[in-house]
Amino acid sequence: MRVKLKQPSVLPGFGLTMGYTIFYLSVIVLIPLSAMFIRAGSMGPAEFWNVITAPRVMAAYRLTFGASLIAAVVNAFFGFIVAWVLVRYTFPGKRLVDAMVDLPFALPTAVSGIALVAIYSRNGLLGQYLEPMGIKVAYSPIGVTIALTFIGLPFVVRTLQPALEDLDVEVEEAATSLGASRFQTLRRIIVPTVLPAMLTGFSLAFARAVGEYGSVVFISGNMPMKTEIVPLLIISKLEQYDTAGATAIGVSMLVISFVILLAVNLLQWWVARRKRGA
């Protein structure tokens, strides 16, 4: 049986663009990644397993994925509010606020790291009050989470904005005229409608956080077993000329990230399908 690859159309373009897509993805993504797999494959399976399950590595996984997850959840919530304000209301300085959202994109991450340290360290602007209260932000997992939240915010806001613009005010008015409270409208109408976009923003922010290095190394203090993130661990392995170990951890991280992103994508596909009612 012949499998049909695409719907026939009089407008040409599928062959050319699909060919280019495959070529481009191969050169940019697949070939470098497979090189990493080959490199890691130079180890025996037992040794590979030992490297990636060493206690220090496991602690780093927990911190990286845990902090990234918390940061992405926090961003999904507050990013929604920021996007809502930017879409629904006009106020003086709106463009300024809108531009500010992109700052974490534009700053070199090291700069954000230094800025966060300046605020949260013992002598910093906020740190001097927080630390006597027993809340240690700099050089602790909290600091890592804050840094990851900072760099992930634009992803959620920028993906939610178009979805919220798409949501007609009339729909909210309809809900209100039917007797729904503001909270009921939010929970039953607004959030379900923008949920696919929110999930996209969430997974982008999460993916970005998992890979973040620059801003975290300044604020985390990089204490093994405590505040050491996986990317840093990889760098330190490289600095000790343990390339195989570094790639092994890299491969494990790649697989975990891929599985998580795939799961989010499936969830999103399921939500979108439910909405369209296939």
Partner: protein
């Protein structure tokens, strides 16, 4: 439940959307707000619903003689049907209709079974029970509009407000739906107000028509009253095609073209320059004078495809006008372009020239 609108004014910035509007809708009536776009009809409807607020200190809205100025739209118990339906995209037809019942406070919320019964009953009423499990995107425009209506009815509203309910539908579905709405209203007898810019729709469906122009009410009356006895030039123009002439009133007669017609009793106050309007179906055509006074004209063009034949004419004084005659009469007279004819008005409306 009756609706009373008293001295309502509304500005959007410098634009005056409503200018001292008064209106009363008796219980159980179906009222049309008719006017061109920008006449303020939708704004008025939204103010009645509570989705928009009138200018502060401008007047009041009364439901059953009770001021609702401080009642939030959520508690006004109005069923509002939006022009573009505003259905909840992520919910099925059933869930859309059930929404108003499910968001009730726990105390007054019916149980699952009662909700399901009510929803299915309403869906049967709008003839959509088969499609309860579909999503809005899988429905046609007319079906969506009916879902929106069922959803609004689910909360047992005291009144139904419809904003251009058939505005986004094609001509055939529109016609079906409006006679259906008429029947539905007769069955439910809930006080209803709908906005439209389509005079045929208003004339066919409503008990009472409110003609609006530039934020003001021009005339309120039954379809017969506003169609046959328009009180202003605007109403005359808006409720159908007209032929307009310049005329002069002299001693109780109005002169226009080569004709002199006595004024009706209620128009006696008009003096001097006047404007004379004749509806196309009130223009009779003859091929002979028959000795009676008439305006001479010649046929420019004939449109015979339709229930009536539309004849474009040019008078000897170079004025264009339109006449509508029956197919039968058209065949008997054997009209051709350039035929010479004599026209006479069956009925005229005269307004003072302002």
């Amino acid at each position: 439940m009756s609706i009373e609108v008293r001295n309502i004014t509304k500005h959007f910035g410098d634009f005056r959307a409503l200018d001292d509007v008064n209106l009363s809708v008796p219980t159980g009536k179906l009222v049309a707000l008719l006017g061109p776009s920008g006449s303020g009809k939708t704004t008025l409807l939204r103010i009645i619903a509570g989705l928009e607020q009138a200018d502060s200190g401008s007047g009041s809205i009364l439901f059953h003689e009770e001021d609702v100025a401080n009642t939030h739209v959520r508690h006004r118990r109005v069923g509002f049907v939006f022009q573009h339906y505003a259905l909840f995209r992520h919910m099925t037809v059933f869930e859309n209709v059930a929404f108003g019942l499910r968001v009730r406070p726990r105390k007054s919320r019916p149980n699952r079974r009662d909700i399901a019964d009510t929803v299915h009953e309403l869906l049967r009423l709008v003839q959509l029970d088969m499609l309860a499990g579909r999503y809005p995107s899988q429905l046609s425009g007319g079906q969506r509009q009916r879902v929106a209506l069922a959803r609004a009815l689910a909360v047992e509203p005291k009144m139904l407000l419809l904003d251009e309910p058939f505005g986004a539908l094609d001509a055939k579905v529109r016609k079906e739906l409006r006679s259906w709405l008429r029947r539905l209203h007769d069955e439910l007898n809930v006080t209803s107000v709908f906005v439209t810019h389509d005079q045929d729709e208003a004339l066919e469906v409503a008990n009472q028509i409110v003609v609006m122009n530039r934020g003001r009410v021009e005339q309120i009356g039954t379809p017969d009253e506003v169609f046959h006895h328009p009180q202003t030039e605007f109403v005359m123009h808006f409720l159908g095609d007209v032929n307009a002439f310049h005329g002069r009133v002299i001693q109780g007669n109005v002169q226009f073209g080569s004709l002199k017609v006595p004024l009706l009793e209620n128009r006696q106050q008009i003096v001097g320059d006047a404007r004379v309007f004749i509806r196309p179906h009130d223009v009779t055509i003859d091929t002979k004078t028959n000795g009676l006074p008439a305006i001479e004209a010649r046929v420019v063009r004939v449109h015979s495809a339709g229930p009536l034949v539309r004849v474009e004419l040019l008078t000897s004084a170079n004025q264009r006008l339109i006449s509508e005659i029956s197919q039968e009469r058209f065949v008997t007279m054997n009209l051709q372009p350039d035929s010479k004819v004599y026209i006479r008005p069956r009925h005229i409306r005269v307004f003072a020239d302002s």
